[in-house]
């Protein structure tokens, strides 16, 4: 337990590199949460992203099992996670494109099967591995290498969105019209899913699998209340994500509580507040 002053001194102190790393991780992931979260929100694929993020546990479980039993020595869990994320993105993406009416069932199936595979393999892994540490993550375990990977993904996502902003916006707003304009809407959709899947794998280290989906939707949802354009929503959502993760980190330090959960509670309360304020404003305007 500390207070806010000790949090800020820990942030700049060389004795607590993990606090500084956590702060930078929050800042770097805010860009991903802000940009991808806005795309996921306007494209209404939050449930798809949810399924991908949970299915990742299957890959982590298999990787841990293969590594611990010596079948594939030193296999990092992240490799399994990325393979499962991309596979589930491909399966869900294909189901969504080919058979809209089955999409829901496929999403739920992949969500459940992925998680169950993870739990099963972790149970059979020699030594101790706890699924909940992957579900809820631990930002204080972030390494410098993780930060570089986050930075690299930030740069890739910024370039992709800057270069193809209009195509992404048109596809999300009116897919059929975008197709008539010659935009390869299926490719755009599958690339969005694949990039989101990879981001989910990196971000789950920060706030955990369960909470990635909350941070992909809550800041963007909050930003959506006042934004006049998708670009404005992306910028506002990035700023909100940064504020929520910093406040969550500080609150976690002050109350000695899990940071990931604090971040999401902060984001959730703020979102609900905006929702309520918006409803009241509408009601007042009608009266």
């Amino acid at each position: 337990m500390g207070d806010l002053a000790t949090f800020f001194s820990a942030l700049v102190s060389p004795d607590f590199p993990f606090v500084r790393n956590a702060f930078f991780a929050g800042a770097l992931s805010s860009i991903l949460f802000g940009l991808l979260g806005s795309v996921v929100t306007v494209k209404r694929i939050a449930s798809l992203a949810g399924a991908i993020s949970h299915a990742v546990l299957g890959g982590i479980g298999i990787a841990l099992y293969l590594s611990a039993t010596g079948k594939v020595p030193n296999l990092p869990p992240m490799v399994g996670a990325i393979i499962f994320a991309l596979l589930s993105a491909l399966l869900i993406g294909t189901a969504s494109l080919k058979s809209k009416q089955r999409e829901d069932t496929v999403i739920q199936a992949i969500w459940a099967i992925g998680m169950s595979i993870g739990v099963l393999f972790m149970a059979k892994t020699p030594g101790y591995s706890d699924p909940s540490s992957y579900l809820f993550g631990n930002i204080l375990l972030i390494s410098s290498q993780d930060l570089w990977m986050l930075l690299a993904l930030d740069i890739i996502v910024i370039i992709l969105i800057w270069r193809y902003y209009e195509q992404i916006e048109a596809t999300a707003f009116d897919e059929e019209f975008a197709q008539v304009r010659g935009i390869p809407t299926r490719v755009v959709f599958l690339v969005i899913l694949a990039v989101t899947a990879i981001a989910v794998v990196l971000l789950q280290t920060f706030v955990g699998i369960v909470m990635v989906i909350a941070m992909l939707t809550l800041p963007a949802g909050t930003a959506g209340f006042g934004a006049k354009s998708l670009a404005a929503m992306m910028v506002a959502s990035t700023i909100y994500s940064f504020i929520f993760s910093t406040v969550g980190l500080a609150a976690g330090w002050v109350f000695d509580a899990p940071v990931g959960a604090m971040v999401v509670v902060t984001a959730g309360l703020f979102y609900l507040g905006r929702l309520l304020a918006n409803a009241l404003k509408k009601r007042r305007r009608r009266a």
Partner: protein
């Protein structure tokens, strides 16, 4: 009109979904500059026909030629006004930004200096003062006119409107047809509607998705003559049929 190039040509087109035959032996064409109405009751296959025209579906048999090419090659020359019924009201976007979408292409980034063409397209639908307004704040009829502006911004060779007057208030409908009357003759116009009895007085010819053929379980396209009515519309004479492949002049004088 017959000297003008053919804008759209269906030759013996059939189309089926995996478990459902929809259209068979559809043959018709019309020329550049014509104002065409395509009518048919709900569920008759109008949307399927539109998808074939726009290259969003491929015919099971036969060929579709749009502006002399396969639709996938020439559809970017089309100004398409969809119904856009599943629109998301929380999508953050301004009216001008929606219109600008009409000049987006497959992969390039935005070119500079498009503000003028956007303003011009908005003035064509009499909405020049609303460019900065959020799209979601407009009425249904105004939104439909914004989609018309979006279709016009790229100066299309042909305009296709899917149920343009559906859920539209009188004022918006009047303004829409004002816009279409200024384009008539210059731009080829195809409107799709479920109103079987009458069409706008601007319409030159009408194609109708025929009643279901009990034997084949499919429908085809036929042409009916039009009769002018005093209230500024034209009545579709369903009791008389003209071969769908017959041209404007032949229908008028033949």
């Amino acid at each position: 009109m017959r000297d003008r190039p053919i804008a759209l040509k269906f030759s013996s087109v059939s189309f089926s979904y995996p478990h459902l035959d929809v259209l068979s032996d559809v043959t018709f064409h019309f020329h550049s500059g014509e104002f065409i109405a395509l009518v048919g009751p709900n569920g008759s296959g109008k949307t399927t026909l539109l998808k074939l025209i726009l290259g969003l579906e491929e015919p099971t048999q036969g060929t579709v030629e749009l502006l002399g090419h396969p639709p996938k090659r020439s559809r970017s020359l089309i100004g398409y006004v969809p119904q856009h019924a599943s629109y998301d009201p929380s999508f953050p976007i301004s009216v001008a930004e929606v219109v600008r979408m009409g000049v987006v292409d497959g992969t390039s980034r935005r070119k500079r200096g498009q503000d003028d063409v956007v303003a011009k397209a908005l003035s064509l639908v009499q909405m020049e003062s609303l460019g900065e307004r959020p799209y979601s704040e407009l009425s249904g009829g105004q939104r439909r006119r914004v989609l018309v502006a979006r279709a016009l911004v790229g100066e299309p060779a042909m305009l296709i409107l899917d149920e343009p007057a559906a859920n539209m208030d009188r004022e918006s409908e009047r303004r829409l047809y004002d816009t279409l009357s200024t384009l008539k003759g210059e731009t080829t116009i195809l409107i799709v509607t479920h109103d079987m009895r009458q069409v706008s007085a601007l319409v030159d010819r009408v194609f109708c998705i025929d009643s279901l053929n009990e034997r084949t379980g499919t429908r085809t396209v036929i042409q009916h003559p039009l009769e002018e009515v005093d209230d500024g519309t034209k009545r579709v004479l369903h009791e008389q049929a003209i071969p769908a492949d017959q041209c404007w002049q032949e229908v008028r004088h033949g």
